[in-house]
Subunit: 286 residues, 4 copies
Amino acid sequence: MPMNSIHSFSEIVGKYKVIFFDAFGVLKNYKGLVPGIDRTFQYLHDKKKEYYIVTNDASRSPTQLAEKYHQAGLHAISKDRIVSSGMLAKEYINLKVKSGIVAYLGTPDSAHYIEGEGIEVLPVSQINTHNVDDVNALVFLDDEGFDWNSDLNKTVNLLRKRTIPTIVANTDDAYPLNLGEICIAVGSVATMIENIVGKKFIRFGKPDSQMFIFAYERVRRHMHVTKDQILMVGDTLNTDIMGGNKFGLDTALVLSGNTLPTDVESRINSSGILPTYICPSAVVDY
Amino acid sequence: MPMNSIHSFSEIVGKYKVIFFDAFGVLKNYKGLVPGIDRTFQYLHDKKKEYYIVTNDASRSPTQLAEKYHQAGLHAISKDRIVSSGMLAKEYINLKVKSGIVAYLGTPDSAHYIEGEGIEVLPVSQINTHNVDDVNALVFLDDEGFDWNSDLNKTVNLLRKRTIPTIVANTDDAYPLNLGEICIAVGSVATMIENIVGKKFIRFGKPDSQMFIFAYERVRRHMHVTKDQILMVGDTLNTDIMGGNKFGLDTALVLSGNTLPTDVESRINSSGILPTYICPSAVVDY
Amino acid sequence: MPMNSIHSFSEIVGKYKVIFFDAFGVLKNYKGLVPGIDRTFQYLHDKKKEYYIVTNDASRSPTQLAEKYHQAGLHAISKDRIVSSGMLAKEYINLKVKSGIVAYLGTPDSAHYIEGEGIEVLPVSQINTHNVDDVNALVFLDDEGFDWNSDLNKTVNLLRKRTIPTIVANTDDAYPLNLGEICIAVGSVATMIENIVGKKFIRFGKPDSQMFIFAYERVRRHMHVTKDQILMVGDTLNTDIMGGNKFGLDTALVLSGNTLPTDVESRINSSGILPTYICPSAVVDY
Amino acid sequence: MPMNSIHSFSEIVGKYKVIFFDAFGVLKNYKGLVPGIDRTFQYLHDKKKEYYIVTNDASRSPTQLAEKYHQAGLHAISKDRIVSSGMLAKEYINLKVKSGIVAYLGTPDSAHYIEGEGIEVLPVSQINTHNVDDVNALVFLDDEGFDWNSDLNKTVNLLRKRTIPTIVANTDDAYPLNLGEICIAVGSVATMIENIVGKKFIRFGKPDSQMFIFAYERVRRHMHVTKDQILMVGDTLNTDIMGGNKFGLDTALVLSGNTLPTDVESRINSSGILPTYICPSAVVDY
């Protein structure tokens, strides 16, 4: 895994049959699409390469996420090409919760996501003494859509009363809001509550392997591919690159988001997380 | 430090010249004063023993805290007998912050507390682009009095912009609200933000020695006393008992609060924190 | 995921097509095989059910591990039915390290395991100023086979000099030695060093999903099976049960190892990790 | 607490009545005394300023530590001017352990230190089934003097059998051995074992306030001094500077040890720990 200084993305993308892309900091940022990223998808289409978006986002369904790209003018990203941490939460609930209430923290959009047959999906704010004994799971979906003070205190007391599986559908600590400002993500809020109640939550999201398995299994439904034919492209060392490396994929760190050209070297050395390649961005010059 | 099963408080209190009491779970609980606790203070008065309340509470000033006891009918607790973690925060700011703004999270009551000459005390909600460069310290005082979502996000971004001392005036993770329900304390909120911004906050509160030094120095202004003549009485192993032990005091764990008769043995064995004595409560039968 | 008190293993095993077993505490303990466990494998054979051993053991190769079972009289466990965390470490190295030296901490038996074409496998004790620049990966394999004081200090300084992928092939903190005594596992040693050098290591082992994927992919080479047709059987909540649950399998906690009948209820409630079933042991009464 | 770029130590030392010095990285390093440091002590003597060495060192008694300075030609450092974390461990044991065995990990030199009336001090290696029930405390003193593999495993099992106070007399994670090489300190080893056994150890050492109280009380036996008349000088942000700040002292970070001129700014910004001053070294140009 030698780190050969900086490569152009055009130079390396041709070596792989399938590309996994992180979303934020790679395809888009707080200002909109990364300029020129449409050329990358034109290239992938022309060369008949497969691609998936692998994202720690449980705030919206793949359909809603895909619509956002279409509105921005990027039509290459259809809903079936999106693998989100929320989909793993949904899969878990479908497999393990057969009846009763699934309580959640998040927006109605995010909740829509986890709905399934036989279960009732309710915001934590609607849990009360009458229905608390029917709550069979709790899901942290999004940092918006609830009152932090009252609903987080309610969540703590719910978890003290009921021994139920608790799922965190986004493992990020924070996410960028605009140039220089960040927001606390639901992953941080969940960690705070996990420490208070002393229980283990089930977390879905990069760098966890389950995200990569999900994407890997999906691509193998359509084609035969081995791990060394897949490239994971991301802007964050401890999620995209760590997770890609661990799953056995080659990895490309792009400098269009979280990791800046000025601190890439010190971040790699201090974390010990080594991408296969470093590229200025995921844009193909073509 | 042998643990000789359960003692009555009457049996052991006579051996000491000075008693330090935790407040919540020892003198009072969510229903009001612990029944009979006034007899303890009558006894201490009659026997000319000194006493102090040593509390991880930065929500109100000693004057306000004392008033609460007076209203409940316990007049023995005057403001000069109260040592709170908020007082250490105040002392720190007086010594180390000479000018500018001290931003805080908490109620106006808690803020009143840290006011001092030459500094302006402002809630985080009132920090803006015009005054952000004058903020010279930040204090976490109380879990109430601010909007958790907007003000905690604002706090994260303030700490990313400004390298300033950040003080947490209450190290507790949670506190009891009523029978069976707890509240998230500002200590947990501070830990969440510390992890996101990656900076080290300055924490005041038991089990930290500084709480005990503060009380110890205060008592020694009035009388000569050595550490082995002081008993720390508390209901929580990892704050009251851990801190008292470490500072070199004898310790009495009471079972009227956080630690229940049914789980005292397993909690001591699993934590490894050994009180000198275990008592049903701090009430003197007299 | 209801927890219906205690079930006999015989009662539930019939519902599944494939069984994954943890090794220690389920099939064997410090005294040898769990009495009667051979009946379970006779049953599985008669009913044509598939089974795999999924173990956080990187101290020996599957061949060597299988031999141990054969010597103890259990011939049903062949090397191709064993999935160990060491196999994931080996796969990672084969995919990501193409040349140079892979340094390791462990016994020669454990090292034998990770050998591959084009790489040289050397114990940390043999790293010196002449070959240190050729070290391209480090693997924590076993807690035996090296001098803890000198080789762990050498490891710290190796990781300060070289930015290389570091793999921990056993995530356990400790393992049982005999009745009442435990041993520090290499996972704990790795965590200590990770904290000192401040780098992120790559960990393989339950509860991580990658162990379950590896076993799942292997079984699907031979047969068609879905996740709800597989049962994970283990004695430890935070590895076997947590990992099985997260991967979407049904789980059976057995009380023949790490979790005792007297504390199963309090451990489930305090951890929040819920097995689908609880069984006295994995022995089939048949 | 403004940070006014770099000051010469000569410029600031005159403002204070008492100076607390860290030892390693300030007065000495792996090559011996910091060149010119004798001029500092000549200056302090001429100006009648008091000084103390405040060090996280429990490997040798103050007498032995002072001898090392004398052998190196620095006679100004007498044993009564040394405050070590080992002295706090000793004080704790004297106050809280009245009889039986105190087991320890460390060299015979370090153990000599904690000896007291009525107790027997034994290395962990000499604990056996006959005397284990008499062990009333355990102390982590030094990283040398014991077999890491066998004695650390023995320590884990001792702490599983006996609920006893456990003291860590050195909170450092690692210490420098020579240019570019470090050693694992006993603080790291203690943390590993604390995590395995799940118990809370009592830690003495900077940044904990108890080190500073101990020194502060000692200086006040000889003279009247307030906290703002004391300067803490150290080379490490998260022990010397954090601890000094928290105790309410002014602090000077020197760049002759752990913190280098090239990374001082980024370390201060990323940790949020602000010294009152930054100086190239503690040498007075005089």
